[in-house]
């Protein structure tokens, strides 16, 4: 992995918003890992006789962009490192295993810290953690692509004096392993601002489509037939179970009945449609009530934790 300079760091508006939300809803300081990918957008004003240069020779005029597309927030600090800034490898691997994908659409890009009412510059420990992290080789190794160590660091803070309009600050850095310094990088928020259309030039979706089993009805293929025979019983049982679940949700509106909602007969079935919606609403209300109850219990548990913590620290 090369210690290539980044031109800037880009983050999607929703990722940044949810990052800030996680930080501002936590009771104390938080940290976590940043995931994403690197991209090298082609400059739009390319001249035809421009010769392609190898990436390594372009150190100053780098066009490499670190795209932050997701994060894991630990909800606390020192979640994957100790007080001296050394990594806790098992914890780090656990975090990464959940997120990193082998297709490199989401690899470990760096980490972040949110600490309220502090100066917007990296601290002693943050320097050491970044330094340890930039020596990591956790990302899946893929040939023929640009790779950098997880060197991005985003620092979130709030102003020292509480203000009503200006409530959050953030700053992005790249830790350069070779020189051992933090280089401040500009942070582009994708989807926001007048120039947002340009961002879609290099757009690639990062949520993969769900795997859909495609069964060839023709059944001429011997392979499929054989497989079918072998798994038929278990498969049928599973399908039956799924169908039962689906029926429960359909409230008696099977596909045949729904089919009548279309075409010339449709006008007669408005009342049926209405009753379907009504049942859906009842169901939603039930769900909302469940969420409310579980939220109350989460809150209760959090308060209990807080009390225990206070007791431990001598405040109780």
């Amino acid at each position: 992995m090369d210690d290539l300079p980044l031109q800037k760091i880009a983050i999607s508006g929703s990722a940044l918003a949810s990052l800030i939300q996680r930080f501002s809803s936590s009771s104390g300081d938080v940290d976590g890992l940043l995931f994403g990918h690197l991209s090298q957008p082609t400059p739009s004003n390319l001249l035809e006789d421009d010769l392609p240069e190898p990436a390594s020779t372009r150190s100053d005029s780098s066009t490499l962009v670190g795209n932050v597309t997701g994060f894991v927030c630990s909800g606390t600090v020192s979640s994957f490192y100790d007080s001296a800034g050394r990594l806790n490898e098992p914890a780090l691997r656990r975090f990464v295993a959940d997120r990193a994908r082998p297709d490199q659409s989401q690899s470990l890009l760096g980490w972040f810290v949110g600490r309220r009412r502090t100066a917007l510059r990296p601290s002693l420990r943050e320097f050491n953690v970044s330094s340890s992290l930039s020596n990591e080789t956790l990302n899946p190794q893929i040939e023929d692509s640009v790779k950098i160590p997880p060197c991005v660091f985003i620092l979130l803070s709030t102003p020292l004096i509480a203000q009503s309009i200006h409530t959050h600050d953030h700053r992005a850095f790249q830790f350069r392993r070779s020189s051992g310094v933090f280089e401040p990088k500009s942070m582009d928020v994708v989807n926001i601002g007048p120039g947002f259309r340009v961002h879609y030039g290099a757009f690639s979706p990062n949520s993969p489509l769900p795997w859909l089993p495609c069964v060839v009805r023709d059944s001429s293929s011997m392979e499929i037939e054989e497989e079918k025979r072998r798994d038929s019983l278990t498969a049928r049982r599973a399908a039956l179970k799924e169908q039962k679940g689906l029926d429960l949700y359909a409230e008696g509106f099977d596909v045949g009945r729904l089919g009548r909602l279309m075409g010339s007969e449709a006008a007669n079935y408005t009342s049926e449609l209405e009753s379907l919606y009504e049942k859906m609403l009842v169901k939603l209300e039930g769900l909302a009530r469940n969420v409310e109850k579980s939220s109350a219990r989460v809150l209760e548990q959090e308060q209990r934790n807080m009390r225990l913590r206070s007791k431990f620290t001598g405040f109780g």
């Binding site: 300081d29 007080s83 310094v181 620290t313």
Partner: protein, 376 residues
Amino acid sequence: MAVVADGTLPPLIAAQLNHLLSHSPLSFKVDQIWSGCKSAHFSDRFTLLVPFCLDYVKWDVVYNALCPWAAPDVIFAAEDEGFYPFFVAANGQSGKSCLEDWNCKDPARLMLLVHELRDLYKSYQMKRVGELDDERLKFEISTVLSREGIEVCMVSGSERLEEVKFSVPLLDMNLNKLVHGCPWKHQQMIYLQVVFPISRKYSSASSPRIKLVSSSELKSLLSVEDVKLPTWLDGMCMAEYLPAVEDILKAQIVEAIAAIGARRRFIEALASQFGRPLEADSVFCRKATVLAASGVFTFLVHISLSTQFPKQQPVLVLQSSQHFNSQGTPVLSPPLMDYPWSPRWEASQMVERIYEFLAEECLSFKKYCNDSLFQQ
């Protein structure tokens, strides 16, 4: 010295901070204490003023009130961007620091950490100055670096010009031991502060700015601002200059210690005319208060002696025991320092002359007191 006034810091953190403030041989200060929690009743961060090179550097110490057993983090000043101690090397091995096995139950931990960081900061500044392209500074550093306790740092002077400040401890003597019954908690030192402008050419190098610095506590013995420093000649270096300054200072200190004796004799002589003083500074003998009366009018005489005594005569302030102003405080006379005086008199004669002067002066002071009562 600032002490944590309110109990807003969790006990584990407060114990460490108080230990630092009361046990460190260096005088740390706390600028501000605040909270980084959503519910602000736990405070967990503070700005520490770290004494360095005759000034203070501000470090933010960031604890976490939600887990006060964890080691703190430190954010250094904005101008010290390049200062990152305990650098974790590529093989994961870092220099042994007390952060590695933090024990929250040990109140001395924060002090150990801060001392460790301050030592590293000292070497960091030394390295920065050593890397400057200035022949004179290179020479100065190589010649005076062997002195114990020397500190250097970069300072940004006026018009964004960078300067280099040296703090050189002078005189290898224990000032605390020279003063009988010394009340000083910290070891007293006198430093020479030398500020060099950075210049590339040796020939065009201008003279540095020189100043003697001591703690405010030392002022009761000797005021270093009053010491006349020898002139810095063109082409001089610190190694030449320092012995001259030290010789002058040594003489001044001997004189200052002797002056305590002269003041003590004066205060002891007060008893013959005024009776035993009500109050007297028994260590530096800079202050004494006696009771005097003229008929039924009784008043206190506050006598202040400067470090220049007997060259400078004592300053007298009279305080009535019978007249009070509208706020209920006793009426005071303006400072009196214009009365017959000769530094060559014996202590007993000095006291006699003051007694005679006050016999006259008390009448006008009584009138002054009565007038101030009428004005109310």
